[in-house]
Symmetry: C2
Subunit: 548 residues, 2 copies
C-alpha cells in the first residue's frame, strides 16, 4: 500500500489559482512582431519559419470555439525543479477542457524517451496522483541533448506513430533552445508537429521581460532560505561558528542573491560581481575576513556566509588556472601519476604552469590543490562541480585570521562549519506560487497548441500581482536568442540571464550588506506554508518583487 | 530596524495550547512515593532530602490561592532545541499569572551565567519578541558543567543578591542530573532556593514513562524528515544517486529511527542494533550492499540511507580501535608526526596496534584511516564527531559493489552523495506541538515553584491526546537516576534512554525495512505547517504515537 504523509494528502486537494483569462474561453491576441535579443540577421536566417513571430497574450472571451481532439506529447528535460508535475497536470486539464477526447502522452526519462519511443499515456488516474507534488518522477527526466537531425527525424517518426500533433518540452535554456530548433525543423518540413517550450530551472537564469521567472526558483530558494535562517538562528544562539553555505546554481548567482535578500546573512558572494571586478580568490577571502574582523571587535565570533556553487569558475585567475591544468594534466598524466606524494605532484605541476597560474596554484591550500590534481573526470578534466568551495573559503579565512592574530590585528575566534544545499530544494513540493505558476503554464501551453502555435514558449507574466491578474500568452523562443560559441562553433542559443549588477535586486543587497555584515540582522523565513495568511503563503521571491 | 519575515510576524500571535488544568487555579495532587530506576540504596543515600518524593499531577481547581511575589532565575544549558524560548515565555506567563509582581531573571550564556552572575531581567517587552521562535538567543546557552560545590556556593550567593527563590534549568540529561544535585545541595543547606529541571534535547534520549519526550525532538525530526523526503523525491526522479544522510544524535538513534518512520527510506542504520548484534563495520556495509544489489536487479540504481551520527562509537571493534589509537598516538606522537607520508604513518600505526584492531584499521579506506590519524583534538584524541561516517559508508559500498561487478554479481550502477543534517533543525521555529509542549512545561515549572517544590522536573504527559487532555505535573529527578561510571568514578546520573530494540517504534521499522529497502516506498512529509488542518499541523512524532 502506498503511504502518504498528512501534508501530501492535504495538498492533493489544492486547486491552483490561474489567470482570469484561462478560466473560460480564450481569445489569443497578437502583439508586435519580435526580434532576437542580438545577432538578429544570423538568427533570422537560421529560423526562417519561426523568427519574428508576434508576442501572444490571452484574453477572456465569450466566443465558444470548438477544438478538434488531438494527441500531445510532453517531456521533462534536465535537472528537477519544483512544479514540473503541475505543468503536466495543467497541460492535461487544459487539453481536456478544450476537447475531452484529446490525449496526453508522457515520454519517459527526458529527451531520450522521444527518440527511443519510450512513453506512457497520462490518464486522469495518473495525473491525480501527482498534482501539487515535487519531483519529476511522473515520467522521469534526462540530460540527452536533442540536437541532431537524425534525432529530429526519429522523434517525428515516433510522433507520427502516436498521431501526436504537438510536443511540450519542459526545460532550461538549453532544452528550450533545442525546442526552438526542433520547431523550426518541423515547420520547414511541414511535418505537422508543433513544439512548445516551458521555462524551468531553479537557478533562475532563464528570464526576460516576457519570462519573468523560470519555475522552481521560488520554491527552491524558499527551502534554502528556511535552512539558512535556521542555521543563522543556531549561529546566533551558539555564538561560536561561521557557517559557510554553498548553494546550487553553477552558471549564475540568482539563488545566492535571493537567499541573501530573504535571510540577510553576514556575507553573500555574488559570482557576477567577482567576475566584473576581476577579483582573485584572495580578494574574495579578504572580503569575508574583513567582516569576521569587524564582528570580532564587537565580540561576535559567529556568522553565516553564502557561496554560489559556480564561484570558482567566475574568478578569472582560477578559470585560467583550471584551463591550464586540464591541458597540462592531459599532457603529463603518466609523469604526475608516477609521483609518490601529493607534495611532489604539486611541485611538478607548479613547475609546468605559466608564471601567473603557478603563483595562484602554489597559493592554494594544499588539500585544495590536491583535489584539483586528483578529482578528474573520465576526460581528465578538473571536476569543478566537485570542488568544496565552501570548505576552501572557510580554510582560507581560518589561516588568514590566524596570521592576523599573530600580528595582533585580530582578537576573536574563528571556527568554520560548511554546508551544501542543492538536492534539498530541487524536488520540494511546489510553493503555492510555483504550484499556481506551473499549472498556469501548462494550461497556457494547451491553449497555444490548440491555436496552432509552434516555436513559442509558454509565458505567464505580471507575477507579483494576484494570480487572477496574471497575463498568460506566448513568447517566440527566437526572441530570447543570440549567437554564442559552443564547443568551438557559433550557435544560436538562449541568452543566459546572469545577475545584473545594475539591477534592483543586487543593488538592494549591495546597499545593505555592510550593515548585515557587521551587525546581526538575520531574518528567519521559516518553512514554506501552504494554508496560512496570504502574505505568508502566496508571496513570491524578493528578486521578482524588486525587479517589478 | 529589525526586519522579520511574514511567517515570523504571523507566528508572534500564536497562543500555545495548554492542558485544561493549567487554565485556571491549579490543585497539586501527590501520587505514590518514587524510587530511582536502579541503585536505589546508593541514590537514596546521596539524595537524603530529595529522594523518594511523590509524582505530582495538576488538576483544575475552584479554589483561588494567593501566592506571594517571587524572583525566579532561568538558564538554558547545552545544545539548542526548538521551543526553548517558549519554556521561558510559559514560565514568565505562569509566574505573572500567579502574582504579577514576580520577576524572572535570565542568566546569560548557560550555567556559567549563574556562577559569573551575568543576567538580565526578562520583561514582557523582551519575552514578546521571542514567543514561538526557535533558537536559544534570548539569553544564550553554554556547556559549562555545574558540578563543584564552589560553583553551587557561588550560584547561591548570586541568587541571594537578586533575592531569587527558585532556579529553572532547561537542559538535557547531564544538566538535569546537575540540577538534581544542586537541588539536594540547597535543600541540605536549607538555602531557600528551589531547583526545577525541564527536559530538553533534540536527540530524544531523555525520556521515561513520566517524561514521554524531551522538547525539540518533534521539530528537529520534522525538519530532517522534510529534507530527507525532498532528497528521496530527487533520488526517485533523477534515478542515479544513493544519498547517504547522517543525522545528528551521537548517543542514541532516536532521530534516525523517527525520520525512517516518517520518510520510509531504503536503509536506516540504528546504532543500538549494531551494538546489540556486535556488528563490524563490514557487516553494516553488507547490510547496505544487500539493498543496493536487490534494487539493481529491479533496475533501481538509487536510494536513500540514513546514518546516525554516533554509529562508529557503537561498533564494538571500532570503539576498541579508537581507544587503542588514542593511547598509541599519545605515546608515539613525535614518531608519527616525523613520518613523511600518510602511507608510512598508516603502516607505522598498524604495526603498533593489537592484532584485532590492526586488522580493522588496515581494512579501512585510506582516506578514512588518514582522518583517524590526523584529525585529533587538543588532547590528542581522535575526534569521533568529525568522522564523515556517511562518506565512509558510501565509499565502502562503492568499492564493494565494484568488486561484485567484477565477479558478475552486480549489474547495476552505484554513485553516492553525502549529507549531514544537524544545524538545520536545532534552531528551527518550534512546531505547534513543540510550541504547545514547551509553553506548557514553562507554565508547569511556574506552578511547581509556587508550590514550593524542588528537585522536580516539569512533566507534561499524555502527549498524543489533544493538548486540553495533557497531564501536567512534576517528576522527582532522582526517579530517573542510576549509578554509572564517569571519568573513572561511579556517579548518580539520569539513565540515557537508548532506542529499545523490543519497543514498538523499532519493531515497526524492523517489520517494514525489507520492503522499504527493496521497493521504493518513500513518504514525503514536507515542511512543518502551522496553519492548516489539525492532522497536518498538530501531530507529534511517530515514535511517541507508537510508544503509546
Amino acid at each position: 500500500m502506498k503511504i502518504k504523509s498528512p501534508l501530501q494528502i492535504a495538498r492533493e486537494k489544492y486547486a491552483p489559482k490561474v489567470p482570469a483569462a484561462l478560466k473560460g474561453s480564450v481569445k489569443v491576441v497578437e502583439g508586435d512582431k519580435t526580434q532576437s535579443v542580438a545577432d538578429q540577421g544570423e538568427i533570422e536566417k537560421m529560423f526562417p519559419n519561426t523568427y519574428g513571430m508576434p508576442i501572444l497574450s490571452f484574453e477572456a472571451s465569450d466566443e465558444k470555439k470548438n477544438f478538434p481532439a488531438m494527441n500531445v506529447g510532453v517531456i521533462l528535460s534536465g535537472g528537477q525543479a519544483p512544479g514540473g508535475h503541475n505543468v503536466i497536470s495543467g497541460l492535461f486539464d487544459g487539453l481536456k477542457t478544450l476537447n475531452s477526447d484529446s490525449k496526453l502522452f508522457g515520454f519517459l526519462g527526458g529527451p531520450s524517451g522521444l527518440t527511443d519511443n519510450e512513453y506512457k499515456e497520462l490518464t486522469s488516474d495518473i495525473i491525480d496522483e501527482y498534482r501539487n507534488t515535487g519531483g519529476f518522477d511522473i515520467i522521469g527526466s534526462g540530460r540527452t541533448k536533442l540536437e541532431e537531425e537524425s534525432q529530429f527525424d526519429q522523434t517525428l517518426e515516433n510522433c507520427k506513430k502516436l498521431d501526436i500533433k504537438a510536443l511540450v518540452i519542459i526545460g532550461g535554456d538549453d532544452s528550450n533552445t533545442n525546442a526552438a530548433v526542433l520547431a523550426e525543423y518541423f515547420a520547414a518540413k511541414n511535418a505537422g508537429v508543433q513544439v512548445i517550450g516551458v521555462p524551468k530551472t531553479i537557478d533562475g537564469d532563464l528570464k526576460t521581460d516576457m519570462i519573468e521567472t523560470s519555475f522552481g526558483f521560488d520554491t527552491a530558494c524558499k527551502v534554502y532560505s528556511e535552512l539558512i535562517g535556521n542555521i543563522q538562528r543556531d549561529a546566533n544562539s551558539a555564538k561560536k561558528y561561521y557557517h559557510f553555505i554553498k548553494l546550487m546554481g553553477r552558471s549564475a548567482s540568482h539563488i545566492a542573491l535571493e537567499c541573501a535578500l530573504q535571510a540577510q546573512p553576514n556575507v553573500a558572494i555574488i559570482s557576477e560581481e567577482v567576475e566584473a571586478k576581476n577579483m582573485t580568490l584572495d580578494q574574495v577571502v579578504d572580503q569575508i575576513v574583513e567582516v569576521v574582523v569587524k564582528r570580532a571587535e564587537k565580540g561576535e565570533n559567529f556568522g553565516v556566509v553564502l557561496v554560489p556553487e559556480g564561484l570558482v569558475e567566475f574568478i578569472p585567475a582560477m578559470k585560467a588556472l583550471i584551463a591550464e591544468l586540464n591541458d597540462m594534466l592531459a599532457k603529463y598524466e603518466n609523469e604526475v601519476n608516477a609521483l609518490d606524494s601529493n607534495k611532489e605532484r604539486r611541485e611538478f605541476v607548479a613547475g609546468k604552469l605559466s608564471a601567473e597560474s603557478s603563483k595562484v596554484f602554489t597559493g592554494l591550500p594544499n588539500s585544495f590543490a590536491n583535489q584539483l590534481l586528483l578529482d578528474r573526470d573520465p576526460h581528465g578534466n578538473v571536476q569543478v562541480s566537485m570542488i568544496d568551495t565552501e570548505q576552501l573559503l572557510s580554510d582560507m579565512v581560518k589561516s588568514r585570521v590566524k596570521k592576523l592574530k599573530k600580528e595582533g590585528k585580530f582578537n576573536g575566534k574563528f571556527s568554520g562549519q560548511s554546508h551544501f544545499f542543492g538536492y534539498e530544494g530541487r524536488c520540494a513540493a511546489p510553493s503555492n506560487f510555483d504550484a499556481d505558476y506551473t499549472y498556469s503554464l501548462g494550461r497556457t501551453a494547451a491553449v497555444l497548441i490548440a491555436n496552432g502555435k509552434t516555436g513559442y514558449m509558454a509565458s505567464v507574466r505580471n507575477l507579483t500581482a494576484p494570480a487572477d491578474e496574471w497575463i498568460a500568452g506566448g513568447v517566440p523562443v527566437t526572441m530570447l536568442m543570440n549567437m554564442e560559441r559552443r564547443h568551438g562553433a557559433m550557435k544560436p542559443v538562449i541568452q543566459k540571464a546572469l545577475v545584473k549588477l545594475d539591477g534592483k535586486p543586487f543593488k538592494t543587497f549591495a546597499e545593505s550588506r555592510k550593515e548585515w555584515g557587521e551587525n546581526t540582522e538575520f531574518v528567519y523565513p521559516g518553512p514554506i506554508q501552504y494554508f496560512g495568511p496570504t502574505e505568508v503563503c502566496d508571496q513570491t521571491t524578493k528578486t521578482l518583487q524588486l525587479e517589478k
